[in-house]
Subunit: 138 residues, 2 copies
DNA sequence: CCTGCTATTGTAAGTAGTTACAATAGCAAA
DNA sequence: TTTGCTATTGTAACTACTTACAATAGCAGG
């Protein structure tokens, strides 16, 4: 299932463990972003010995390796999801509704950004906060 | 010094306290954004009775009232600054360099955003993560 | 200048996330 | 299959931040 990922880790001198595999499995099954505590709760049901510390360490490790994505959502919370196609989050600060934006649309905005500021926007971690159409009415 | 702010709070049914005044003063003197812990350290030197809980509560209160601004910077940390002219943060995820972007430039981007997604981007809280020109070379 | 209402504070306990360190267990190589 | 190196884990203590509750203290009105 995750043979390619295991191969990648070995090439980089890292190891695959039941804990890491479980976190990947949980994120994959969820099909959406999860908070560390949600992941910990699910993980412990399957692998009771697993601790919070390991969950947090595993999440930052997998994220550094580019195998999962970390995204900041409202109130500074960090959530994780399986790395897939590039997309981004648009979060309503009033009702919390989240919407995904596809990468292609943002490309043109990034280009304008770069020519103006010199900064290259990190296309994997962008999250926008704003008001969704419904909440703009209030 | 903060007469206008005090007046505003009273009109809304809230009170001014030495603790709130001190947080405002510290942010104003700093002239840049500060983390809650930096504010707490400075505050306690002047008002030893002041506790962490009060600092955190004061920061979210002042922020809700629009008197200070909260901004997420790298690694999910929240920082605060005195509300002034609209501006935004652009943070390099490699070296941590921060740059301010003026509101006017972003206006045009927001407009494109809104017509595409229907979401109105929150112009006071936008923070971009990316790579600064220097770090792009590595 | 008092008085009373209640917003705000400090206290203390709780939750989320991080870190040093010694024990454990992947995995590469024999 | 066995062995040894060291990446990874669990433990336990620590930091940042939050919250319920009773005591305190702004401030509006008399």
């Amino acid at each position: 299932m995750f043979d390619q990922i295991i191969e990648t880790l070995h090439q980089r001198g890292f190891r695959m463990t039941p804990q890491r595999l479980l976190v990947l499995q949980i994120l994959k099954d969820a099909g959406r972003h999860l908070a560390p505590q949600e992941i910990f709760a699910q993980a412990q049901r399957i692998l009771p010995a697993m601790t919070e510390a390991t969950v947090y360490r595993t999440l930052s490790f997998l994220s550094e390796q580019g195998l999962i994505l970390a995204a900041h959502i409202g109130n500074g919370q960090l959530v994780y999801e399986i790395a897939g196609h590039d997309h981004h989050h648009l979060i309503c600060r009033a009702c919390g509704a989240t919407k995904q934006i596809d990468h292609q649309f943002l490309e043109s905005l990034y280009q304008q950004f770069r020519s103006k500021t010199g900064y290259q926007i990190d296309s994997l971690h962008v999250t926008f906060f704003g008001l969704c159409p419904d909440c703009q009415k209030n």
